[in-house]
Symmetry: C2
Subunit: 157 residues, 2 copies
DNA sequence: AATTATAGTCAACTTGATTGACTATGTCGT
DNA sequence: ACGACATAGTCAATCAAGTTGACTATAATT
Protein backbone atom coordinates (compact mmCIF):
# COMPACT_ATOMS: atom_id res chain seq x y z
CA UNK A 1 0.00 0.00 0.00
CA UNK A 2 1.47 3.32 -1.09
CA UNK A 3 1.07 6.55 0.76
CA UNK A 4 -1.41 7.60 -1.88
CA UNK A 5 -3.57 4.61 -1.09
CA UNK A 6 -3.48 5.38 2.62
CA UNK A 7 -4.41 8.99 2.09
CA UNK A 8 -7.61 7.96 0.35
CA UNK A 9 -8.84 5.87 3.26
CA UNK A 10 -12.11 6.84 4.84
CA UNK A 11 -12.33 7.72 8.48
CA UNK A 12 -13.39 4.33 9.78
CA UNK A 13 -10.63 2.52 7.88
CA UNK A 14 -8.08 5.03 9.17
CA UNK A 15 -9.21 4.55 12.75
CA UNK A 16 -9.28 0.78 12.41
CA UNK A 17 -5.81 0.63 10.88
CA UNK A 18 -4.47 3.05 13.48
CA UNK A 19 -5.85 0.92 16.25
CA UNK A 20 -4.59 -2.33 14.70
CA UNK A 21 -1.17 -0.85 14.07
CA UNK A 22 -0.67 0.29 17.63
CA UNK A 23 -2.22 -2.74 19.30
CA UNK A 24 -0.24 -5.14 17.08
CA UNK A 25 3.04 -3.49 17.97
CA UNK A 26 2.11 -3.41 21.65
CA UNK A 27 1.43 -7.14 21.69
CA UNK A 28 4.51 -8.04 19.71
CA UNK A 29 6.51 -6.25 22.38
CA UNK A 30 4.57 -7.84 25.26
CA UNK A 31 5.24 -11.22 23.66
CA UNK A 32 8.96 -10.52 23.63
CA UNK A 33 8.72 -9.89 27.37
CA UNK A 34 7.08 -13.22 28.04
CA UNK A 35 3.45 -12.12 27.98
CA UNK A 36 2.54 -13.90 24.78
CA UNK A 37 -0.68 -15.24 26.26
CA UNK A 38 -2.14 -11.75 26.72
CA UNK A 39 -4.73 -10.55 24.22
CA UNK A 40 -5.72 -6.88 23.71
CA UNK A 41 -8.93 -7.33 25.69
CA UNK A 42 -6.85 -8.51 28.65
CA UNK A 43 -4.82 -5.31 28.63
CA UNK A 44 -8.02 -3.26 28.66
CA UNK A 45 -9.43 -5.41 31.44
CA UNK A 46 -6.30 -4.88 33.55
CA UNK A 47 -6.65 -1.14 33.02
CA UNK A 48 -10.19 -1.24 34.32
CA UNK A 49 -9.10 -3.35 37.30
CA UNK A 50 -6.44 -0.86 38.44
CA UNK A 51 -5.89 0.18 41.05
CA UNK A 52 -8.44 -1.29 43.45
CA UNK A 53 -10.05 -4.17 41.61
CA UNK A 54 -13.35 -4.37 39.77
CA UNK A 55 -16.47 -6.46 39.82
CA UNK A 56 -17.58 -8.73 37.03
CA UNK A 57 -20.41 -6.41 36.12
CA UNK A 58 -18.09 -3.41 35.91
CA UNK A 59 -15.70 -5.32 33.65
CA UNK A 60 -18.55 -6.52 31.43
CA UNK A 61 -19.86 -2.99 30.94
CA UNK A 62 -16.41 -1.54 30.36
CA UNK A 63 -15.43 -4.13 27.77
CA UNK A 64 -18.79 -4.50 26.06
CA UNK A 65 -19.21 -8.23 26.63
CA UNK A 66 -21.52 -10.35 28.81
CA UNK A 67 -20.81 -11.17 32.44
CA UNK A 68 -20.41 -14.81 31.52
CA UNK A 69 -17.73 -13.91 28.97
CA UNK A 70 -15.98 -11.94 31.70
CA UNK A 71 -16.26 -14.93 34.03
CA UNK A 72 -14.60 -17.20 31.47
CA UNK A 73 -11.91 -14.67 30.77
CA UNK A 74 -11.20 -14.30 34.48
CA UNK A 75 -11.03 -18.10 34.77
CA UNK A 76 -8.36 -18.13 32.08
CA UNK A 77 -6.38 -15.20 33.48
CA UNK A 78 -6.55 -16.60 37.00
CA UNK A 79 -5.15 -19.88 35.75
CA UNK A 80 -2.39 -18.00 33.93
CA UNK A 81 -1.53 -16.13 37.11
CA UNK A 82 -2.51 -12.58 36.16
CA UNK A 83 -5.61 -11.98 38.32
CA UNK A 84 -7.33 -13.28 41.43
CA UNK A 85 -10.88 -13.35 42.60
CA UNK A 86 -11.59 -11.99 46.08
CA UNK A 87 -14.83 -11.82 47.99
CA UNK A 88 -16.64 -8.48 47.83
CA UNK A 89 -16.15 -6.40 50.99
CA UNK A 90 -19.80 -5.44 51.31
CA UNK A 91 -21.80 -7.65 48.95
CA UNK A 92 -21.70 -11.38 49.68
CA UNK A 93 -22.88 -12.22 46.19
CA UNK A 94 -20.09 -10.28 44.56
CA UNK A 95 -16.48 -10.90 43.74
CA UNK A 96 -13.71 -8.39 43.27
CA UNK A 97 -11.15 -9.20 40.62
CA UNK A 98 -7.68 -7.92 41.47
CA UNK A 99 -4.33 -8.09 39.72
CA UNK A 100 -1.52 -10.34 40.89
CA UNK A 101 2.08 -9.21 40.84
CA UNK A 102 2.39 -10.69 37.36
CA UNK A 103 -0.68 -8.76 36.29
CA UNK A 104 0.86 -5.53 37.54
CA UNK A 105 3.96 -6.31 35.49
CA UNK A 106 1.79 -6.40 32.36
CA UNK A 107 0.21 -3.06 33.25
CA UNK A 108 3.63 -1.49 33.76
CA UNK A 109 5.03 -3.01 30.59
CA UNK A 110 2.04 -1.82 28.57
CA UNK A 111 2.42 1.72 29.89
CA UNK A 112 6.11 1.72 29.04
CA UNK A 113 5.60 0.35 25.56
CA UNK A 114 2.78 2.78 24.80
CA UNK A 115 5.02 5.64 25.95
CA UNK A 116 7.68 4.43 23.53
CA UNK A 117 5.16 4.13 20.68
CA UNK A 118 3.94 7.66 21.40
CA UNK A 119 7.56 8.85 21.50
CA UNK A 120 8.10 7.52 18.01
CA UNK A 121 4.83 9.09 16.90
CA UNK A 122 6.10 12.39 18.32
CA UNK A 123 9.28 12.03 16.27
CA UNK A 124 7.07 11.54 13.24
CA UNK A 125 4.46 14.29 13.60
CA UNK A 126 5.67 16.44 16.49
CA UNK A 127 4.61 16.90 20.09
CA UNK A 128 2.00 19.52 19.36
CA UNK A 129 0.31 17.53 16.62
CA UNK A 130 0.09 14.37 18.76
CA UNK A 131 -1.33 16.46 21.57
CA UNK A 132 -3.95 17.90 19.23
CA UNK A 133 -4.74 14.47 17.77
CA UNK A 134 -5.45 13.10 21.24
CA UNK A 135 -7.43 16.16 22.29
CA UNK A 136 -9.56 15.98 19.18
CA UNK A 137 -10.27 12.26 19.46
CA UNK A 138 -11.12 12.76 23.14
CA UNK A 139 -13.49 15.58 22.26
CA UNK A 140 -15.20 13.61 19.52
CA UNK A 141 -15.62 10.47 21.61
CA UNK A 142 -16.87 12.51 24.57
CA UNK A 143 -19.39 14.38 22.46
CA UNK A 144 -20.69 11.19 20.92
CA UNK A 145 -21.24 9.67 24.34
CA UNK A 146 -22.51 12.47 26.49
CA UNK A 147 -26.19 11.67 26.18
CA UNK A 148 -26.03 8.01 25.33
CA UNK A 149 -25.04 4.72 26.85
CA UNK A 150 -21.25 4.68 26.80
CA UNK A 151 -19.64 3.23 23.69
CA UNK A 152 -18.05 -0.06 24.54
CA UNK A 153 -14.35 -0.60 24.04
CA UNK A 154 -14.80 -3.78 22.06
CA UNK A 155 -14.51 -2.89 18.38
CA UNK A 156 -17.49 -4.25 16.46
CA UNK A 157 -16.70 -6.11 13.30
CA UNK B 1 -17.94 8.73 31.82
CA UNK B 2 -16.93 12.33 32.38
CA UNK B 3 -14.73 14.32 30.10
CA UNK B 4 -12.00 13.95 32.69
CA UNK B 5 -12.23 10.19 32.41
CA UNK B 6 -11.98 10.33 28.63
CA UNK B 7 -8.99 12.60 28.71
CA UNK B 8 -7.04 10.05 30.73
CA UNK B 9 -7.52 7.29 28.17
CA UNK B 10 -4.42 5.80 26.62
CA UNK B 11 -3.90 5.87 22.90
CA UNK B 12 -5.21 2.39 22.13
CA UNK B 13 -8.40 2.99 24.14
CA UNK B 14 -8.89 6.32 22.39
CA UNK B 15 -8.48 4.77 18.98
CA UNK B 16 -10.75 1.85 19.83
CA UNK B 17 -13.48 4.11 21.18
CA UNK B 18 -13.15 6.47 18.23
CA UNK B 19 -13.53 3.57 15.82
CA UNK B 20 -16.45 2.06 17.75
CA UNK B 21 -18.19 5.42 18.02
CA UNK B 22 -18.04 6.13 14.31
CA UNK B 23 -18.80 2.60 13.14
CA UNK B 24 -21.74 2.28 15.56
CA UNK B 25 -23.32 5.48 14.31
CA UNK B 26 -22.71 4.46 10.71
CA UNK B 27 -24.50 1.16 11.21
CA UNK B 28 -27.38 2.64 13.13
CA UNK B 29 -27.94 4.91 10.17
CA UNK B 30 -27.56 2.10 7.63
CA UNK B 31 -30.08 0.11 9.64
CA UNK B 32 -32.56 2.97 9.40
CA UNK B 33 -32.16 2.82 5.63
CA UNK B 34 -33.01 -0.87 5.49
CA UNK B 35 -29.47 -2.27 5.55
CA UNK B 36 -29.70 -3.78 9.00
CA UNK B 37 -28.09 -7.02 7.85
CA UNK B 38 -24.81 -5.31 7.01
CA UNK B 39 -21.91 -5.68 9.43
CA UNK B 40 -18.86 -3.39 9.50
CA UNK B 41 -16.71 -5.99 7.73
CA UNK B 42 -19.22 -5.98 4.84
CA UNK B 43 -18.80 -2.26 4.37
CA UNK B 44 -15.03 -2.67 4.19
CA UNK B 45 -15.40 -5.57 1.79
CA UNK B 46 -17.62 -3.49 -0.52
CA UNK B 47 -15.01 -0.75 -0.46
CA UNK B 48 -12.36 -3.22 -1.59
CA UNK B 49 -14.66 -4.54 -4.32
CA UNK B 50 -15.28 -1.11 -5.89
CA UNK B 51 -15.15 -0.27 -8.62
CA UNK B 52 -14.22 -3.31 -10.73
CA UNK B 53 -14.65 -6.31 -8.43
CA UNK B 54 -12.11 -8.31 -6.45
CA UNK B 55 -10.98 -11.89 -6.10
CA UNK B 56 -11.39 -13.97 -2.99
CA UNK B 57 -7.67 -13.82 -2.27
CA UNK B 58 -7.62 -10.03 -2.56
CA UNK B 59 -10.56 -9.72 -0.18
CA UNK B 60 -8.97 -12.14 2.31
CA UNK B 61 -5.73 -10.18 2.39
CA UNK B 62 -7.48 -6.83 2.62
CA UNK B 63 -9.73 -7.88 5.49
CA UNK B 64 -7.25 -10.06 7.37
CA UNK B 65 -9.29 -13.27 7.31
CA UNK B 66 -8.92 -16.62 5.52
CA UNK B 67 -10.17 -17.29 2.01
CA UNK B 68 -12.72 -19.71 3.40
CA UNK B 69 -14.10 -17.01 5.69
CA UNK B 70 -14.38 -14.74 2.66
CA UNK B 71 -16.14 -17.53 0.77
CA UNK B 72 -18.71 -17.91 3.54
CA UNK B 73 -19.21 -14.17 3.77
CA UNK B 74 -19.72 -13.91 0.03
CA UNK B 75 -22.24 -16.78 0.24
CA UNK B 76 -24.20 -14.78 2.81
CA UNK B 77 -23.98 -11.47 0.94
CA UNK B 78 -24.90 -13.13 -2.35
CA UNK B 79 -27.97 -14.60 -0.71
CA UNK B 80 -28.85 -11.18 0.71
CA UNK B 81 -28.52 -9.63 -2.73
CA UNK B 82 -25.49 -7.38 -2.22
CA UNK B 83 -22.81 -9.13 -4.32
CA UNK B 84 -22.46 -11.61 -7.15
CA UNK B 85 -19.77 -14.04 -8.17
CA UNK B 86 -18.57 -13.88 -11.77
CA UNK B 87 -16.02 -16.01 -13.55
CA UNK B 88 -12.53 -14.57 -13.75
CA UNK B 89 -11.78 -13.06 -17.17
CA UNK B 90 -8.35 -14.66 -17.47
CA UNK B 91 -8.05 -17.33 -14.76
CA UNK B 92 -10.49 -20.21 -14.99
CA UNK B 93 -9.90 -21.13 -11.36
CA UNK B 94 -10.77 -17.70 -10.12
CA UNK B 95 -13.96 -15.80 -9.39
CA UNK B 96 -14.51 -12.06 -9.36
CA UNK B 97 -16.88 -10.75 -6.74
CA UNK B 98 -18.83 -7.70 -7.88
CA UNK B 99 -21.47 -5.52 -6.28
CA UNK B 100 -25.12 -5.66 -7.24
CA UNK B 101 -27.25 -2.55 -7.51
CA UNK B 102 -28.24 -3.03 -3.89
CA UNK B 103 -24.58 -3.33 -2.95
CA UNK B 104 -23.82 -0.03 -4.66
CA UNK B 105 -26.64 1.56 -2.67
CA UNK B 106 -24.84 0.55 0.52
CA UNK B 107 -21.57 2.02 -0.73
CA UNK B 108 -23.29 5.30 -1.60
CA UNK B 109 -25.17 5.41 1.68
CA UNK B 110 -21.99 4.74 3.66
CA UNK B 111 -20.15 7.54 1.84
CA UNK B 112 -23.00 9.95 2.52
CA UNK B 113 -23.27 9.03 6.19
CA UNK B 114 -19.51 9.27 6.73
CA UNK B 115 -19.57 12.70 5.09
CA UNK B 116 -22.27 13.75 7.54
CA UNK B 117 -20.37 12.34 10.51
CA UNK B 118 -17.26 14.21 9.38
CA UNK B 119 -19.33 17.36 8.92
CA UNK B 120 -20.44 17.14 12.53
CA UNK B 121 -16.84 16.47 13.60
CA UNK B 122 -15.86 19.63 11.68
CA UNK B 123 -18.46 21.59 13.60
CA UNK B 124 -16.91 20.25 16.79
CA UNK B 125 -13.17 20.69 16.19
CA UNK B 126 -12.90 22.72 12.97
CA UNK B 127 -11.98 21.93 9.40
CA UNK B 128 -8.28 22.41 9.88
CA UNK B 129 -8.06 20.21 12.93
CA UNK B 130 -9.94 17.32 11.26
CA UNK B 131 -7.67 17.68 8.25
CA UNK B 132 -4.61 17.48 10.51
CA UNK B 133 -6.07 14.53 12.44
CA UNK B 134 -6.52 12.56 9.23
CA UNK B 135 -3.12 13.55 7.86
CA UNK B 136 -1.42 12.51 11.09
CA UNK B 137 -3.18 9.16 11.33
CA UNK B 138 -2.37 8.52 7.67
CA UNK B 139 1.27 9.34 8.27
CA UNK B 140 1.49 7.12 11.34
CA UNK B 141 -0.20 4.16 9.70
CA UNK B 142 1.91 4.55 6.57
CA UNK B 143 5.12 4.72 8.54
CA UNK B 144 4.22 1.65 10.55
CA UNK B 145 3.56 -0.32 7.39
CA UNK B 146 6.21 0.76 4.96
CA UNK B 147 8.57 -2.13 5.56
CA UNK B 148 6.19 -4.73 6.86
CA UNK B 149 3.31 -6.85 5.74
CA UNK B 150 0.32 -4.54 5.61
CA UNK B 151 -1.68 -4.21 8.80
CA UNK B 152 -5.01 -5.89 8.34
CA UNK B 153 -8.21 -3.91 8.71
CA UNK B 154 -9.74 -6.41 11.11
CA UNK B 155 -9.21 -5.08 14.62
CA UNK B 156 -7.65 -7.73 16.84
CA UNK B 157 -9.29 -8.22 20.20
C1' DA C 1 5.65 -32.90 -20.32
C1' DA C 2 6.13 -33.26 -15.56
C1' DT C 3 6.15 -30.94 -11.36
C1' DT C 4 4.89 -27.46 -8.28
C1' DA C 5 1.87 -23.71 -6.94
C1' DT C 6 -2.56 -21.54 -6.52
C1' DA C 7 -7.97 -20.26 -6.30
C1' DG C 8 -11.81 -21.52 -4.42
C1' DT C 9 -14.75 -24.77 -2.05
C1' DC C 10 -15.78 -28.46 1.28
C1' DA C 11 -16.46 -30.42 5.88
C1' DA C 12 -14.93 -30.45 10.34
C1' DC C 13 -13.24 -28.02 14.04
C1' DT C 14 -12.03 -24.09 17.30
C1' DT C 15 -12.60 -19.92 19.68
C1' DG C 16 -14.91 -16.54 21.99
C1' DA C 17 -18.83 -15.01 22.60
C1' DT C 18 -24.28 -15.19 24.01
C1' DT C 19 -28.41 -17.10 26.18
C1' DG C 20 -31.37 -18.69 29.68
C1' DA C 21 -31.56 -20.90 34.07
C1' DC C 22 -30.14 -21.16 38.65
C1' DT C 23 -28.75 -19.96 43.61
C1' DA C 24 -27.58 -16.81 47.04
C1' DT C 25 -27.90 -12.32 48.33
C1' DG C 26 -29.55 -7.42 48.24
C1' DT C 27 -33.24 -3.89 47.72
C1' DC C 28 -37.71 -2.11 47.92
C1' DG C 29 -42.47 -1.54 49.19
C1' DT C 30 -45.95 -2.37 52.46
C1' DA D 1 -40.38 -7.74 59.47
C1' DC D 2 -41.71 -9.95 55.48
C1' DG D 3 -42.71 -10.89 50.77
C1' DA D 4 -41.79 -9.55 46.15
C1' DC D 5 -38.58 -8.18 42.99
C1' DA D 6 -33.81 -7.36 41.39
C1' DT D 7 -29.01 -8.53 40.97
C1' DA D 8 -24.01 -10.98 40.93
C1' DG D 9 -21.93 -14.62 39.48
C1' DT D 10 -21.83 -19.27 37.70
C1' DC D 11 -23.48 -23.18 34.89
C1' DA D 12 -24.37 -25.70 30.65
C1' DA D 13 -25.78 -25.33 26.15
C1' DT D 14 -25.68 -22.90 22.03
C1' DC D 15 -24.19 -19.89 18.33
C1' DA D 16 -21.44 -16.92 15.12
C1' DA D 17 -17.48 -16.27 12.89
C1' DG D 18 -13.60 -17.65 12.22
C1' DT D 19 -9.55 -21.50 11.04
C1' DT D 20 -7.66 -25.85 9.27
C1' DG D 21 -6.53 -29.37 6.15
C1' DA D 22 -8.03 -31.72 2.13
C1' DC D 23 -9.53 -31.59 -2.43
C1' DT D 24 -10.10 -30.45 -7.58
C1' DA D 25 -9.23 -27.75 -11.45
C1' DT D 26 -6.23 -24.65 -13.32
C1' DA D 27 -1.88 -21.92 -13.83
C1' DA D 28 2.99 -21.39 -13.60
C1' DT D 29 7.49 -23.20 -13.53
C1' DT D 30 11.17 -26.23 -14.61
Amino acid sequence: MTHEVFSKLDLTSLLSLSFSTSINELHERLSELGFGDIRPVHGFMFKCITPNGATGIELAEYLGITKQAVSKMVDYLEKSGYVMRKTHPTDKRGKIIVLTERGWLVVKAKEKILTEIEQRWIENIGTERLQMLKEDLTKLVYEANEDKLPTRLRPVW
